[in-house]
Amino acid sequence: MDKINVDNMLAIEEPFIKVPLEQLRRTVRQTQKQVERETAAVSAELAEVLKNQYRLAPEEIQKTLDALIERLQTLKQGLEQVKQEESQLIQRSKLRAMDLNKLREFESTTQPEFQQWCRQRLDRVLIDYMLRSGNVKTAQRLVETGNLEHFADSSLFAQVMSIENELKDAHSCQGALLWCSENRSALRKIQCSLEFELRLQEYIEMIRARNTPEAIKYAKKHLSPWSDTQLPRIQRAMTLLAFSPSTSCPPYRAMFDEARWAALANDFRMVIFQLYNLPAQPLLHLLLQTGLSALKTPACLSSDPSEHNRNCPVCQTETLGKLAQDLPLSHHVNSNLVCRITGEKMDEDNPPMRLPNGYVYSLSSLTEMAATLDGKVKCSRSGQTFKLSEATKLFIS
């Protein structure tokens, strides 16, 4: 039981490895597009110059060439930055994979190095939680004290937060739309209609501002391309023109509702998480929920405090116990007996001993007690005293 189940441990680390991978994929794709666009443009302009060289004044050619040089220089600077970014992402991927690979070296769950590793995983999971929930300073401190820069996806979450806040607070779709256009092919692949929702929102805002001609123009340009999949909604959106923002007619009132902005922010978050393979809920939630469930026993729920164990997380009635309240109990087909005195496991090597009053303790705890109490043992629950020889050995199959 003390052996480490490496495959299980790795199974939950998918986002840890995939985030930098997806970031790398996107960076390379975007660079490819950018280089293609820029070099093609420069080359086309040169062709133009060549074609008209006899007609153009040298000053003009010179000016054009200057502009082209500058364009390429900007491209080059951009590429130099991308080079840094890419190599950082690759380095980050490697460091993360190496950290996971350490698991294979550990032999037992009791090894201090393994416990240290688990401690760091906890910090990682907490950082993820802090970044997701906007506790930027706490996250920052955790990263700094743990030296975990490469294990934290701070920049990704910073981007998520800034676009989300723009939607929620500033009621602007600009950042989100830009992000959509940068990731258009990936979004198409997962058949995501976030861009349509954003466009729809901008359209609704124009109607709210009573700018009907603009709204119609906007709908023609930005909503109609979605007619394949969103036709009924486009039709409803067009009907909105007939309603005022104070309407009480349900579907139209819902479209005018300011709460749509918060919903958009949430939609955006879900989509970007999906693209980067991040689970919708923080890993901390998932681990705590399943962990508490796996630890939860009927004894934790007992109204008798003596049934509780101070080391048991579910028995922390003020904190984790509250979180565990509605979670399922653990399932057991095999017995697991724990000595009330030492907290040690009772099995063939350290058998459970029944005192005449029915209470059971481990052999090792009773022998130790008998050594100091002149061959007698005291039942810690009832306070009764017995001779060690009165205890009978139990067999648990």
Partner: protein, 400 residues
């Protein structure tokens, strides 16, 4: 994981060489453009100097050259980036292969939806018990949670003492004072912390060459460990150390001076401190996350299988499968009847038969009923695990 690391190493090399090449090709293009531009500039200058008499010589060749360079840059970068992309994809495939678990099946749980503050307090407790008080303060202010002052003060006291023990001077005074103050409590728990600390201090004095002080210290603290405490042998052994005082590290006592002894002592103190305050020995949040790391993949797999049944895992009364946890994460006895495989309850308690085998009451009653009358005296049956005969009245309740 090895493949993934190798992939990353390959990618790193590939990325650096290909971006260098791309940058070089763009540099070439820029240079060619600059040459073309400069030649045009100088020739147009010279023509103006010649009073505009000479006809303009268009620098066709330079321009063609420049265009070629730009096109070359285009094709070079295209080729290299495509190559890099295909390598990234290859790496991506290996990653896909290594991680097949779909975490989203458990992500639908709404169990924590309205429990943000409770979670916040659990995290806060964790930060305090890990001794990062600044972090705890930061987190509590970012979430406007009240810092539990009492817990903070307790852990501050603990960490102050632990820090002194871990410091280069390894100051033990406060720890010893704390242990002496709680001697009765520690003795009742059978906790040997006080003696361990005295031994550390004694050895520290010997190591410093303060033999008389060490002797005084032994006189002051060791006599209380009378014979029954089982420490006398050890004390006698310790007192022999004075013979080797000048060459401790080449003596039979050398093993007592390991570097870990301070850390072990500090941990023992922290554990005793937590126990005395009724606090858990290990961070409950940490324990839960570790348990979750074992449980999550299992719950995921099972929920994936049960998906069509539309039961959300966190809404059930009991998990569908057993999650194997290390012994250190077993905090309560759970008795599962080996006959019925059911968990014992107050109505169906575990019962020990005279042979010592334990089964649940319901199973016991079933066995008693199932016996054919006539074969043996009614109500008597054989234990399912050994030849010993038993009856309902022979069996006794046990409390684990």
């Amino acid at each position: 994981m090895d493949t993934i690391i190798r992939d990353c190493e390959k990618l790193a090399k590939h990325q650096s060489s290909s971006s260098t090449k791309i940058l070089a090709s763009i540099d070439q293009a820029i240079k060619a453009l600059q040459t073309a531009r400069n030649n045009i500039a100088s020739s147009s200058n010279s023509t103006t100097n010649n009073n505009g008499s000479g006809s303009l010589i268009p620098n066709t060749e330079d321009l063609v050259q420049a265009k070629q360079q730009v096109e070359k840059a285009q094709s070079v970068s295209d080729e290299h980036i495509k190559d890099l992309y295909s390598n990234v994809s290859k790496y991506g495939k290996h990653v896909e292969k290594a991680f097949k678990l779909d975490l989203s099946v458990v992500g639908e749980s709404r169990a924590f939806e309205d429990k943000r503050d409770e979670l916040g307090y659990a995290i806060l407790q964790h930060f305090l018990r890990e001794g990062d008080f600044l972090l705890a303060a930061e987190f509590s202010s970012e979430n406007s949670l009240d810092l539990p002052q009492e817990t903070r003060m307790r852990f501050e006291q603990m960490y102050r003492i632990v820090t002194l023990m871990r410091s280069d001077a390894h100051e033990l005074g406060d720890a010893i004072a704390w242990a002496v103050e709680r001697r009765d409590e520690l003795d009742a728990q059978g906790n040997g912390l006080e003696f361990i600390l005295h031994r550390l201090r004694f050895l520290q004095l010997v190591e410093k060459g303060l033999a008389t002080d060490a002797l005084d210290y032994a006189r002051q603290w060791f006599p209380r460990y009378s014979k029954e405490s089982g420490r006398m042998d050890e004390i006698e052994h310790l007192m022999g150390i004075f013979i080797y005082a000048k060459r401790l590290h080449a003596s039979p006592y050398a093993h007592l001076f390991t570097d870990q002894r301070w850390e072990l002592g500090a941990r023992m103190f922290a554990a005793a401190f937590c126990a005395s305050m009724g606090l858990a020995a290990m961070s409950p949040l940490g324990v839960t996350v570790d348990a979750g790391a074992s449980a999550l993949p299992i719950v995921c797999k099972v929920s994936g299988l049960m998906r069509e049944r539309k039961v959300e895992w966190s809404q059930q009364n009991e998990l569908a499968v057993e999650v194997p946890l290390p012994d250190s994460m077993r905090f309560h006895s759970v008795f599962a009847c080996p006959v019925s495989k059911e968990q014992a309850t107050p109505d169906n308690p575990p019962m020990a038969m005279p042979c010592g085998h334990v089964i649940c009451k319901a199973s016991l009653e079933k066995l008693a009923r199932g016996v054919r009358p006539g074969t043996v005296a009614s109500g008597r049956f054989k234990c399912p695990y050994c030849p010993v005969m038993s009856s309902l009245t022979d069996a006794k309740k046990v409390y684990f």
